[in-house]
Amino acid sequence: MENMEKMEQYFKVIDNYLMVKLPEEIDHHQAGYISKSVDKLLLEGRANSVVFDFEATRFMDSSGIGLIAGRYKKVVCFDGKVYAINVDKHIKRILYMSGLDKMIEIVCKEKN
C-alpha cells in the first residue's frame, strides 16, 4: 500500500515519457527501488523515454550512475531517450565525470 502511494507520487507517465522525481539523496540504498520501479513501468509499455528530475536531489554517488546507465541500456532498445533535468553543480560534475553526458540529455538548473 505504502509502495503504491510512493509510486504515484514519484513516477508519472506523460505521453511517452516516464517522469521520475528523484529523492533528496541517491545512494546504493535508494537506487535499487528506483531502478526496479522504472523497469516495471517501461516493460509494461507505458513509456519509452525516461526523464529523471533532480529538483529535490542534493546528493548522489556512483550508485546514481549505475541507475541512469542501466536505464539507458533498456531505453535504447525501445528507441527512447534518457533525460536528466534540474541538475545542480554537484550532480552535473558527477554525470560528466562518468561520461554519461555522451549518452543522455542533461538540463541544468538556471543558476549553473
Binding site: E25, D27, H28, H29, A31, S35, F59, M60, D61, S62, S63, I65, G66, L67, A69, G70, K89, H90, I94, M97, S98
Partner: protein, 154 residues
C-alpha cells in the same frame, strides 16, 4: 591536547541504510574546518563510495548479523583524514579494482566508478587489502577555507 586536533571512531552494521549515517557523520565532524558546500559534497561522495564498497563487495550478500564496518576520522590542522575498514573478503588485485569502470558486480548495476570518485574528490587515497582478511581505505583531504580564515583572524 592541541585544540586543532580532533578524532572520532564509529562502528555500524554492514547495512545499506547506514551509508547515509556514515556520510552525515563525517560531514558533521568536519564542520569546524569551515568547509565549502563543494568540499562537503566531495567528502560525502567519497565516504559513500567507500562504505558502499565495504557493504556490497566486502561482505556481499551472504551476511551474518555481526558484520561491521568501522569508520575513523581525524582532523589535523586543516586536513581531514578518513579511514573506512571492513573484515570482509578483501580485494585480490587492488590496482585492477581501482581502474575506472571495472566492476565485479555489473548485475547490481555498479558503475565501476567508486574508487575513481574517491580519488577525484579527495586529495589522497590509499587502499590496503588482504584476501580473506578485509580492506582498509584511507582518504585525506585538505579543507581549503579553514587556513585562510585563520589568517584573517590573526
Amino acid at each position: 591536547m592541541d585544540g586543532k586536533m580532533n578524532r572520532m571512531k564509529m562502528e555500524f552494521r554492514a547495512l545499506s541504510a547506514n551509508e547515509s549515517l556514515a556520510r552525515m557523520t563525517v560531514a558533521a565532524f568536519m564542520t569546524p574546518l569551515n568547509p565549502t558546500l563543494e568540499e562537503i559534497s566531495d567528502v560525502k561522495t567519497a565516504v559513500s563510495e567507500a562504505v558502499t564498497n565495504a557493504i556490497i563487495h566486502g561482505y556481499g550478500e551472504d551476511r551474518e548479523s555481526d558484520e561491521m564496518v568501522e569508520m575513523s576520522c581525524y582532523i589535523e590542522k586543516d586536513v581531514l583524514h578518513v579511514t573506512i575498514s571492513d573484515e570482509g573478503v578483501g580485494i585480490e588485485n587492488v590496482d585492477k579494482a581501482m581502474e575506472p569502470l571495472y566492476t565485479t558486480k555489473p548485475e547490481l548495476e555498479r558503475s565501476g566508478m567508486g574508487f575513481s570518485f574517491m580519488e577525484a574528490f579527495m586529495d589522497e587515497l590509499s587502499v590496503e587489502s588482504e584476501p580473506g582478511k578485509g580492506t582498509k581505505v584511507h582518504m585525506i583531504k585538505k579543507i581549503g577555507l579553514a587556513s585562510w580564515m585563520e589568517k584573517e583572524e590573526d
